[in-house]
Amino acid sequence: MLVLGIESSCDETAVAVVEDGRKIWSNIILSQIDKHSKFGGVVPELAARCHLEVILEITEEALRVAEISPQEIDLVAATYGPGLIGGLLVGLSMAKTLSLAWEKPFVGVNHVEGHIYANFLAHQELAPPLICLTVSGGHTDLIFMPDYGKYEILGSTRDDAAGEAFDKVARVLGLGYPGGPLIDRLAREGTPGITLVQHDALAATYDFSFSGLKTAVVNLVHRLKQKGEIIPAPDLAASFQRQVVSVLADRAFRAMEEKKVKTLILSGGVAANSELRETFSQEATKRGLQLFYPPLDLCTDNAAMIAACGYYRFQRFGSSPLALAAAPRLKIS
């Protein structure tokens, strides 16, 4: 079954063609990060406008690269939430229109669920049960997936998302946007010796809190500025990153133990962080667990994962009604 997937919930306008949820025929991504970077974040209306300008062209490109005609598509899938309403509407309207015009079924996909399926595209042997840690600019969720289409949220962030914390700390350190890769790079030049937060108040739970860590960086920078001292940005970046990664690892590996699951997957843009990958790989090896993470181009938002997820949703639940509304705060279920 060939699925056309559309993703437009935030920065990226993306269209892909995927076979049976596992094999990528084409995966076209147009990132708007360059247009956004001068604002230090995603500008929603700009995002919606850009999606609208390029989505037709990208859809044609996805079909061209896959070397197929619209008649060969069996299903149209699109992200319907969570995300920015303007962008969601563009992708969703496009998918519904194609579904009507091509007379193919339509299925709406949850963006967070989509990130899980990025791993299924990259690793053919992967199968549930598993635990998935999704870490991105808008989401920080620890999810237990006992079977296809079944999810239990074990923990989420109580304040800032992990990627958001990276963005905001990068802003405080004057690094620019997006913060994740910039901090990752800068951290390699520093040593993680600065204790930013002493006490992990949520240590007994699977929840996350990154706001206190962000504030600790703000406080330290403020104090140094007042004293006219140099801000050790590389050390701060390294220390901040180390502490984010150690909290993420603590929650994930505790959940693996409790759920007696042998497979752990990472997804979302923060899963591209080099220290995160290294720490998780070492810990997984030590514990005899399988760790999967997607290649870089499938970590960040893309439409192949939406097509893959759409395939599995369609197999299990059938098509979605064309009246399906965009849901900016959609939860996984």
């Binding site: 974040g41 995603v42 209306e45 920015l84 808008g138 800032d160 706001s211 504030t215 406080n219 403020h222």
Partner: protein, 169 residues
Amino acid sequence: MEKEHDDKLRIWSESPADTEELGVILGSILQPGDLFFLSGELGSGKTLMVRGVTAGLKSEELATSPTFALVHRYEGELPLYHLDLYRLSEPGELEPLALEELMEEEAAIMIEWGDSAKEILSSSYMEIEFLRGENDNQRIITFCPFGEHYRRINRLIYEKITYEIRNFK
């Protein structure tokens, strides 16, 4: 805590817990249509106060950062909209958020980084300023009322805090 001659109310929060508790008090007196703007640098406690407000409204879900999604809605004794407009660069980008429509709902609204929205919404609102105090944990939180309704809210908060003063260090 001090009341100023121009009806501003200034509160010294000595910890994140104080800021959140102040939010709980605020949540317990919110009314439909109340409009608050929260200003202050990153990490000054804006979202934390709103988290307290959702607790005060007895919302099942407590507030998290709206930076990514721009708008969050919470269902408590009163619906609450929590917005963060930092990522907007010009007033034209407010349009898709349909703020005027939110204003017509029987809900309270709290907006972070909302300067661009002030003029178009209402001349009557509360501005809450978060300033860094003398040490890392201290914040000086000032409630600046614009309009009689918000001056009354300040008197209510003052009474509530005086009553619960033992809970404040």
